[in-house]
């Protein structure tokens, strides 16, 4: 063994370079996503988006970053100093920690935890503390209302998220993310758990505070929510870095547990380079879906947000768990998963369509004609 190899075998050195690798990945992801989101939303709205900095505006995130770093770091005179300066880090650190438990290919991971799925859910739940403290410390009415909305929203939507993931882990029989990916084999879990996938994505969009669930940051109601008083580098840590890293982490998780992760279809056993390409493609698809939903749907009211979670998503999550338990205990064939979960998803779609007027333009048109 060479001196270099034994140097990297040291536990501390090993942990350090893995941390630095994740940090680098995170910076690249955040820079890329700021650009992708602006371009993608511009395309949806039939605009060009950033075009001036570099070809097709490709240098825009760099320009944005320089601007943010040079901006003055303002703090309101009446703000609570310690909490105000601590809040961005309270929001950001948990999101960074979730990245450490995600495997990217069969061999590429920072740490594979036996309870990786539970670790992800548990640690990402801490982010809300940062937002609540940011809103409270700002000493601003809108920031506080936004923080309270964030707290209520994130705590509520954590429940269907946990239950949807729990229903899925019943199928996999494990909470280890590598095991879950390998268990899926040729059929990814989205086929057996369409309702679970819908619940997961709804909770993920809510977790990211994106439309239709962006009541916490709603600029026409609470003027930007918890981060209203933040500027410059603190704003970018609290908002851009946290939100985009969280979006990336949640979408990687979704593609691992629902879309089959790095396993190529038809049982192909290709090398790590292809596995990496596949998982990043799947993650990108999920990220684009989140951005697409964000650009398409109108915001729902704050009371609709809570009743959607507690009266629709939560019972459906229980139904999914109950059905899975029933099928697993009686050993019914696999297609019953698809049948029951698909019926559940259809029921969810019908209830949303008939109860909430959001997303049903035909009904609104019909009403205005009458």
């Amino acid at each position: 063994m060479s001196a270099l190899e034994s140097f990297f075998d040291n536990v501390w050195v090993d942990a350090l370079w893995r941390l630095l690798a994740v940090l680098g990945l995170m910076v690249i992801v955040v820079l890329a996503l700021t650009y992708v989101e602006r371009k993608f939303i511009a395309r949806i709205q039939m605009r060009l988006g950033p075009m001036r900095t570099g070809p097709y505006g490709i240098m825009q995130p760099i320009a944005d970053m320089v601007k943010i770093l040079l901006k003055e770091d303002l703090r309101p005179a009446s703000a609570d100093r310690i909490a105000f300066e601590l809040a961005p880090f309270l929001a950001f650190v948990p999101v960074f920690l979730t990245l450490l438990a995600l495997p990217f290919t069969a061999k590429w991971d920072v740490r594979v935890l036996d309870l990786g799925l539970l670790y992800f859910i548990a640690v990402s739940g801490l982010t809300v503390l940062g937002y609540v403290f940011a809103g409270w410390a700002s000493d601003n009415k809108y920031a506080l209302i936004g923080a309270l909305r964030t707290a209520a929203q994130l705590i509520s939507y954590e429940v269907p998220l946990v239950l949807a993931v729990l229903a899925l882990s019943m199928l996999a029989g494990s909470l280890n993310l590598v095991d879950i990916v390998e268990k899926q084999g040729r059929v990814p879990f989205i086929v057996w758990q369409p309702l679970g996938f819908f619940l997961f994505m709804a909770a993920a969009v809510s977790d990211l505070s994106r439309r239709p669930f962006d009541v916490a940051a709603a600029e026409s109601e609470v003027a930007g929510g918890p981060w209203i008083e933040f500027s410059g580098i603190r704003w970018s840590i609290l908002y851009a870095l946290t939100e985009y890293t969280n979006m990336f982490a949640l979408c990687v998780l979704g593609s691992l547990i629902f879309l089959g992760g790095w396993d190529w279809p038809l049982g192909l056993k290709w090398g790590w380079w292809w596995q990496l390409a596949l998982i990043f493609t799947k993650t990108s698809v999920l990220i684009l879906v989140v951005m697409w939903v964000n650009a398409t749907f109108p915001r729902i009211r704050v009371d609709q947000l809570m009743s959607l979670c507690w009266k629709l998503l939560l019972p459906l999550a229980f139904v999914q768990i109950f059905l899975n338990g029933l099928i697993l205990v009686y050993g019914w064939p696999d297609w019953t998963f698809l049948l029951t979960s698909g019926l559940g998803l259809a029921a969810a779609g019908y209830i949303i369509y008939s109860v909430i007027p959001v997303g049903a333009p035909s009904r609104i048109v019909a009403r205005s004609n009458a």
């Binding site: 909490a83 309870l115 670790y119 739940g125 503390l129 609540v132 403290f133």
Partner: protein, 167 residues
């Protein structure tokens, strides 16, 4: 002193400091933040004892759920304007109660025969926890959840009647 011991004393000091911060700070929000810090440090202690599952549940429920609900309540009730009363005529009784509780807890630690030693932690598979909980102790588990449900419904009923009286 081994590396594990160094880490243990570090985390233990953090736990005690956080717990001290809860009672020593004047601002309620700082107390809540110290509480979160203490809860996370306790989770770290669980990890050090190879109880991963317990640690993660601690983070999920206490640090992520209970502490946020606590903060939520503090911010809604204008706790900043309330000055906590830490001094009063009951001071000696409080001291006696606190010290005797401490004495009981410390003597319990030394009098109990523990099944295992802390320096040789056993890895418990979380499948085994699930089996024990849902097969061997299914009835107590269900009874506990029923008690919690009753408490939940009861608190809602109480809160609702107060609202009606105000109107």
């Amino acid at each position: 002193m081994t590396v594990t011991e160094v880490i243990f004393y570090f985390i233990a000091a953090a736990t005690v400091l956080g717990a001290f911060g809860v009672v020593a700070t004047g601002k309620v929000a700082y107390a809540a933040l110290s509480l979160v810090f203490t809860l996370l440090a306790v989770a770290a202690l669980y990890i050090l004892l190879a109880s991963e599952f317990l640690a993660l549940v601690q983070v999920l429920l206490y640090a992520g759920g209970v502490a946020v609900l606590l903060l939520f309540a503090l911010m809604l009730t204008r706790a900043r304007e309330l000055v906590p009363v830490l001094d009063g005529a009951q001071k000696p009784f409080a001291a006696v109660a606190g010290l005797s509780l401490m004495g009981v807890l410390i003597s319990m630690v030394f009098l109990t025969t523990w099944p295992r030693r802390a320096d040789e932690p056993t890895l418990i598979n979380f499948n085994a926890i699930g089996d024990r909980l849902f097969r061997d102790f299914a009835l107590p588990f269900e009874v506990a959840s029923l008690v919690l449900l009753v408490a939940l419904v009861g608190s809602i009923v109480l809160a609702r009647t107060e609202e009606e009286e105000e109107e």
